[in-house]
């Protein structure tokens, strides 16, 4: 509790200009009054959240967000977020709900409210030139490896395997730096890399390593929004029960993942 006070005081001192909504009122009321559900999703993470040629955000997670809005009977508005700001957006009340490929970790649960069960899961792998012939994580030692600012496996990759992480703001910059040869590999979620290796433009690249850190993803609401979290828990169970996740994977061209299949079996 002390920590929360400290954060509130310090933040209002430093960023008093920003509106800092504490989670006092029930956000469900606010959403219904407003008539729109504001959801933070990725816009650079094909096929989970990306931009179509017209600039609209589409993908698996925007589809899930639309399900939530339909259930509430309101419109949906997407706010593109990146890994390094997604939890702050939620804390500041800029978004009501975050479905942004976030790995569920205990220290994140202290900052945002992650309803159970998890809706998805993925692990960490790398995208690298076939010609480099990388076979194990240890091969990355001493080499520059591109990453995304704010991804949790940056630290592990450099601490455990001795890679020099070169982290960029978004995936477009990281892919571009990889192509230009600024790094030997790009460490990222295996789910996104698989989609990339199917792309003819990346035919010379492969995902050579054993996937590590297979970890569940959590969607999140602001701390204290117990009602909303309860509703989201029911939604997630429903998604697993009806096979909605499997259906969306197929719709967006991803092979059904073992996690999604297992959850469907469990809740069926």
């Amino acid at each position: 509790m002390r920590r929360k006070h400290l954060i509130t005081i310090a933040a209002s001192l430093v960023v008093s200009a920003l509106s800092f909504t504490t989670a006092m009122a029930d956000v469900l009321e606010t959403i219904k009054e407003r008539g729109t559900l504001i959801v933070g999703v990725k816009a650079d993470y094909k096929p989970y959240g990306f931009l179509d040629p017209s600039g609209a955000v589409i993908g698996i997670e925007p589809d899930l967000a639309r399900d939530v809005a339909d259930k509430l009977g309101v419109d949906v508005e997407y706010v593109p977020v990146v890994s390094s700001n997604r939890m702050q957006f939620l804390e500041q009340g800029k978004i009501d709900l975050m479905i942004a490929t976030m790995t569920d970790r205990p220290d994140r649960r202290e900052v945002v409210l992650i309803p159970d069960p998890n809706y998805y899961s993925s692990g960490t792998n790398i995208l690298a030139l076939k010609s480099l012939g990388l076979t194990e994580w240890e091969d990355l030692r001493g080499k520059p490896v591109c990453g995304i600012q704010g991804a949790f496996y940056n630290k592990a990759t450099s601490q455990n395997f001795g890679a020099e992480i070169v982290a960029f703001k978004g995936t477009a910059e990281a892919y571009s730096a990889l192509k230009a040869g600024n790094c030997a590999a790009f460490v990222y979620d295996d789910s996104a890399i698989v989609a990339k290796t199917n792309d003819p433009e990346w035919a010379d690249y492969e995902m050579p390593l054993q996937t590590i850190d297979d970890a569940p993803w959590g969607l999140a609401v602001a701390l204290g929004e117990e009602n909303f979290a309860q509703m989201m828990s029911d939604m997630i169970v429903d998604w697993h029960k009806t096979g909605r996740i499997l259906e969306l994977e197929t719709k967006w061209g991803v092979e059904n993942t073992p996690f999604a299949k297992a959850m469907h079996e469990e809740y069926k």
């Binding site: 310090a10 900052v111 010609s131 600012q149 601490q159 960029f168 730096a177």
Partner: protein, 247 residues
């Protein structure tokens, strides 16, 4: 030393004020690296931007029309575009067009890395302003002083080096101070092209530890102190160079 570091771990457990760059060795090392990179980048850019300013201002007074035009073109280009756009342009556009070299892990990488591009881009950016700042100083040197030097048989280069520039320097120091302070602050932009400077490392740490508030406060203070040291040094220099009765 370890005792002090451990105290910050206790501070975190007791109060929730999380400063991992003090108690965690890994985070501490990268914060120190970030701090040193910021200083290194700042010094390199300070040096080259002043050199660019001095040479540019001299070329601006050149008798050749095209030399003046090229210098003016450079100033317009770098003064009228945002430094972040320049960084991206150098790193992602120019960087990929240059020839590649074999690197020690068996791949092909561009000749210049992110630090080199940040140093080049920021030096040119601040240099453009410095040219104009030095020009204002040179124009403030009385015409009669230059004429006196000419009458004594000084060459054009000698007049610039021994008469105009030393006097101009004293006039422009306050304006130069401003621009160099801005330059040190602008080095934070280099984090967009993954130069591991202070903001970049702080970003990594707050992403791993979710202690955004603490890191923001620390960053603000760190830059305040860093720029404070620079301003203090420049003010001392200004006083030391003062000529009684001039300026």
């Amino acid at each position: 030393m370890d005792l002090i570091f451990d105290w910050f771990r206790v501070l975190y457990q007791e109060t929730g004020i999380n400063l991992p760059f003090l108690y965690d060795e890994y985070d501490r090392n990268r914060m120190v690296d970030g701090f040193l990179t910021t200083i290194r980048l700042s010094l390199v850019c300070l040096f080259f931007s002043v050199i660019i300013g001095v040479i540019g201002a001299w070329l601006q007074g050149s008798g050749f029309k095209w030399t003046r035009r090229i210098v003016n073109g450079y100033i317009q280009l770098f003064r009228n575009t945002p430094p972040l756009v320049q960084l991206y342009f150098f790193y992602f556009a120019i960087g990929t067009l240059l020839p590649r070299v074999e690197n020690d892990w068996g791949g092909q990488s561009p000749i210049l890395g992110s630090f080199a591009w940040a140093a080049i881009s920021l030096s040119f950016f601040a240099g453009a302003f410095n040219v104009e700042i030095f020009r204002s100083g040179i124009e403030a040197v009385p015409r009669s002083t230059v004429e006196a030097a000419e009458a004594l048989g000084f060459s054009k280069l000698q007049i610039y080096r021994d008469i105009t520039l030393p006097l101009a320097f004293r006039v422009v120091l306050p304006a130069l101070n401003n621009n160099l302070v801005n330059l040190v602050k602008t080095t934070t932009l280099a984090y967009a092209i993954a130069v591991p400077e202070m903001l970049y490392e702080a970003n990594q740490i707050w992403s791993d530890n979710v202690n955004v508030t603490e890191m923001m406060i620390f960053l603000l203070l760190a830059y305040f102190v860093l720029v404070g040291v620079l301003v203090g040094a420049m003010n001392r220099w200004e006083r030391a160079m003062k000529i009684p009765g001039y300026g």
